[in-house]
């Protein structure tokens, strides 16, 4: 059996998700290929070759793949799919966008958001915003899986797998990339950070997120948010943690001015340690918090920053 892992990257940097996907793949087979589809992404291919367990890196360099358009990427994967028993992508907005197209074109079901692999046909995934955990089995000839990378440990580097260049160009003329607005941040990525501090509606406005950033600076943390904070325009959408945002599982998660709706908990309740700061002692967030601190965040945050 050979497993194909679809690499997550931005054309210059391999994302940490990929090392976790490879670790998931290694539970399925010893032969693991990584597909790096992008433009000017040779550096990413070399980074993928360093991941322990990878036996071959397939690299496709073309403008058709520069922006990870689903139509093109799905056709590319389908064109090489028959050689694989399983195809894995991260359950990020990238993987979620194109993988169901791959599944449909191959006429197989997809299993989304896998948090555990029981065997080559049996997988565990949360449903109902994580309020239930389903064990499912699937007998499709090719298994199309998206993996929740927070649930897997990264493999180490130190490998030197061969890199092969593919010459498959799939370009759908009906979709055109127009523009993008990417958030630039010096901080670690939310899904890769060891510490995450998130703010909710209780932060009152975007400027007040500076209070969280000051603490994040001291802890090397990423900054996240609840849906309410994003909807209110305090911070950009890519900071949303939850059922329909990003799933995080850091060593330490600090929820500030967040009530703890099930949709928010779905994105952070697998964190090792949870701290909640909220002025309402009955806020549901306290039920999952290892350390709850009742009080006004505007008094607590400056004090906390000083104490660190």
């Amino acid at each position: 059996m050979t497993v194909l892992v679809y690499a997550e990257h931005d054309n210059s940097q391999l994302k940490a998700d990929t090392a976790k996907l490879v670790s998931a793949a290694s539970q399925l087979a010893d032969d693991i290929h990584v597909l790096v589809a992008g433009e000017h992404c040779a550096q990413v291919a070399s980074q993928a070759a360093e991941l322990k367990g990878v036996t071959r890196v397939l690299q496709v360099n073309h403008s058709a793949y520069a922006h990870q358009l689903a139509e093109n990427c799905a056709q590319l994967v389908v064109s090489i799919a028959k050689d694989y028993s399983h195809i894995l992508a991260a359950a990020t907005t990238g993987g979620k966008n194109f993988m169901p197209r791959v599944a449909a074109l191959l006429d197989v079901a997809q299993i989304s958001d896998i948090i555990q692999i029981e065997n080559s046909a049996t997988f565990v995934r949360p449903i109902y915003a994580g309020n239930a955990i389903a064990t499912v089995s699937c007998n499709e000839p090719i298994k199309i899986l998206t993996i929740r990378s927070a649930a897997f440990d990264a493999v180490e580097t130190g490998n030197n797998a061969p890199v092969e260049t593919l010459d498959v160009i799939k370009e759908d003329p009906r979709v055109r990339f127009d523009s993008e607005q990417l958030t630039v941040s010096e901080r670690p990525e939310l899904t890769a950070a060891e510490v995450v501090i998130s703010g909710g509606r209780g932060m009152q406005n975007g400027e007040n997120f500076a209070l969280l950033e000051a603490i994040a600076d001291k802890l090397g943390a990423a900054v996240g948010a609840s849906r309410a904070a994003v909807d209110a325009g305090f911070v950009p959408n890519d900071m949303q943690v939850g059922q329909t945002g990003k799933i995080v599982a850091p060593q330490l998660y600090i929820a500030v001015g967040i009530s703890g709706a099930i949709q928010h908990l779905a994105g952070m309740k697998d964190s090792k340690i949870i701290v909640a700061i909220n002025k309402d002692e009955d806020a549901p967030i306290f039920q999952v918090a290892d350390y709850g601190l009742v009080g006004d965040l505007f008094e607590i945050l400056p004090e906390l920053e000083k104490a660190l």
Partner: protein
């Protein structure tokens, strides 16, 4: 221009489900059900396009047992013109739903199909993309802004790094994210009017789609419980605990 909006009946988003004691599935008896929140956003977007004079007809379709007619009526009260209920008792995978919807697309030839990005029960996030692939259409998923202009649709998408804007040639598939719009509430007169709007019912097996299950649920268990609930007295105690007890900060 005709817009097709597939909607799903799901558990109300405020309700916390319980797993059945025999671990076969979740217990939905007497649970409050509603339209999937992302589908509400899809209906709202379609209705707004009609109000702007861009769309001429909004058709909603739901696949499930007859109770999902309730959600079709709700969508019509929100402004959809016509409903189609594809009657099916058995649970379906997203692949099946997408196959049935592909048949509807062939019959109805909509220019735009707007779906929710994700059902809040299965949390699959698959159907729109699968439909797009099978109906051979371009897709704009996780949309936070949609504008239709001269045979194209411009879609701003919420992605992990920020926002991405694509231009798709129509016909196309769009899936909604939370910030696309804020759905309206149905007014009482509109709820009454919706009762008289046309609602077609067709059995799923008339579509010639193989609905045999592809994914089998072996068991459903409750998530691991966290032993939370401990309070600390102040910042000093918090920092001390994080350092010495949890050892998560230096």
């Amino acid at each position: 221009m005709k817009i097709l909006v597939p909607i799903k009946r799901v558990i109300d988003y405020n309700v916390k489900v319980r797993v059945k004691p025999d671990n076969s599935s979740v217990d939905l008896t007497n649970t409050k059900m509603a339209m999937n929140p992302f589908c509400e956003i899809a209906v709202e977007e379609a209705v707004r396009l009609k109000e702007k004079g861009i769309a001429t007809e909004v058709l909603v379709v739901s696949i499930g047992d007859k109770t999902c007619q309730e959600q079709i009526r709700t969508a019509m009260a929100l402004g959809a013109d016509r409903g189609l209920h594809i009657d099916c008792e058995q649970p379906l995978d997203s692949l099946h739903v997408a196959k049935l919807l592909t048949k509807v697309v062939e019959q109805e030839q909509p220019q735009l199909i707007i779906l929710g990005k994700q059902s809040i029960d299965s949390d699959n996030n698959q159907t729109g993309q699968m439909l797009a692939a099978m109906a051979n259409l371009p897709q704009g998923t996780f949309a936070s802004e949609v504008s239709v202009e001269q045979g194209t649709v411009k879609v701003t998408r919420e992605i992990d790094g920020g926002l991405q804007t694509l231009v798709l040639t129509l016909p196309a598939v769009v899936t909604t994210d939370l910030r696309l719009n804020e759905p309206r509430y149905a007014s009482l007169p509109n709820i009454m009017k919706a009762k008289r709007k046309p609602l077609d019912v067709k059995p799923a097996d008339e579509f010639g789609v193989d609905l045999s299950p592809r994914v089998e649920i072996l068991k459903v268990t409750p998530p691991q419980k966290r032993s939370g609930g401990t309070k600390v007295s102040g910042v000093t105690e918090l920092v001390e605990k994080l350092r010495n007890e949890a050892k998560v900060i230096p």
